[in-house]
Amino acid sequence: MADFDTQVPVTVLTGYLGAGKTTLLNRILTENHGRKYAVVINEFGELGVDNDLVVDSDEEVFEMNNGCICCTVRGDLIRIVGGLMKRRDKFDGIIIETTGLANPAPVAQTFFVDDTVKAKTRLDAIVTVVDAKHLPARLADSHEAADQIAFADVIVLNKTDLVTPEELNAVEATIRGINRFAVIHRTQRASLPIEQVLDRGAFDLSRILAMHPDFLDGDDDHEHNEDISSMSFEVEKPIDPEKFNAWIGVLLQDKGADLLRTKGILYYANEDRRFAFQAVHMIADGDFIGPAKDGDPRTSRLVFIGRNLNRPQLRRGFEGCAAD
């Protein structure tokens, strides 16, 4: 496995046209945070910032010939990451802006599938900007809007000044119905501290999984509005890595098309370090991260975001991974 510290963090910025993606990007690029980002964009004209590390790219999605039906990747990103690595010392991270209608899966999968990209970079977070006023309409007329929320680690709920407090709460509940695990930031003009968006790393994953037990055990009341839902499961006994790999492998193969994102922190038997697992559709990856803090419960957690999730089946499967 490649070393976490030497890999370039990559932030994927998604969101519908007009949600405030470009505003957020401009903020990131102009604020004085002392870090330099290479930015991959599609519509060069929109960005009014003079950044010598802006890369103009056409989104080119192709299917891998590896027998995995939903395995699509962004070929342009593979080339761009390769090119940027030739001047690795010139930037601290990469930000990829997707077009408004983009399905985030190919972007995310690119960081799991290509060996070179995987070795040199790590997907830090998927940040989705949504427009508080227009989100309900977007969700009604396209499935990409829901997918973008489902994929998000961080959601910037923007333009909160254009809705009433009641509308805002309703739209946040809708988002939670799709993705209970993303961190939501309410903003106006996409204004928020940059560190809430960039360089989140495994930090978010462990934090969300560890600090929101109420979400993990909540009921499924929110799930009725959208076909996408999110569920989480816990196992207190140590996990047997072989059992887990066998189970998750079959699960992703069978249900991968419906499983948008799968994330987890696992405590293996006889292993101090935690294992961070994540998958996008059928493609999975994992890495050992540091040990838990002393006194923290060694509870393994797994989160699924997707369609047609079968709670009892997933629970039984995960519980079956406990070491004997």
């Binding site: 010598d52 080119e60 990747v73 080339r79 030739k86 001047r87």
Partner: protein
Amino acid sequence: MSRGMSRELDAFVVAVRFSRDGRHAGFALGDGTVRLATVGSAGEWITAAVHDGSVLDFAPDPTGDGFISAGDDGKLNRIGADGSVSGVGNFGSKWVEHVATYALDKGKGLIAASAGKVVRLYDQAGQVLKDLVHPSTVTGLAFDGKGKRIGASHYNGASLWFVAAKTDTPRKLEWKGSHTGIAIHPEGEAVVTAMQENALHGWKLPNGEHMRMSGYPAKTVSLSFTRNGKWMASSGADAMVLWPFFGGGPMGKAPLELAGGDGIICNQVASNPRDEIVAGGFADGLVVVADIGSSRILPVVPPDHGPISALAWSADGTQLAIGTETGYAAIVDFAKR
């Protein structure tokens, strides 16, 4: 190292080429500079600041004594042997990802550069001859052995264009998937592409019969036919993998594997333009030269200077230039004395 010279250049060596007259080697770097060395001279290397960004590809000037470089600043530039820089083309905000050149007779030549889906063809003076438009981004460029055709790899195959055609319709070589690089057999008998899925695909010419060469543990980034096209060397395995393009090969034939066995991936290969000799550069920094006939291996550079990222022979086959990801550059002299 027996004879030669080396420098630490402190930036990723993207490509290295010898000038057409063989007197200079140019090392194109990730910091946007090109370093020019005079072959056989212990003198200072010239630094030319060529791109505001990184050099992405690099080729000899088809008629002059210098080089042509493509950069991620959208520029296609010409570098003289004295380090002078002049513009050939400007592609705006697009990266110029590939450049290939070909020297024709009577002081004429061709320059081809790709940015996105477009390959722009220039004459030796930098006059635009034509734009060749592809269905998706061009990932590799190569002229055939006579400079009559140019091939471009892209998604779902490759396109082969006649340079001098009045109407531009390419021969389409189709195979589903992402093709990431291209080589053309020197006698025009085949086109081979590298693919995303750690395999090569080929088309026999003229009939277009498919060839598939697989089994690589890593992506192939470097393809190099030997002088007569008898063998094609490739990177992407823990050895130099040479496919036989004779006796009915490569289909149904096992490739020759040279300098393998230690599990280190071969990053770069370069076939000698005169003899049946191939140089290979590995991920641990080792460079070897192998005699194909006898499979005899000569280590040239020890694994001390970072992963090999560039290799090139001079046209007379006596000099081997080497570059690494960490900025080590060397020219090794194999001339008999």
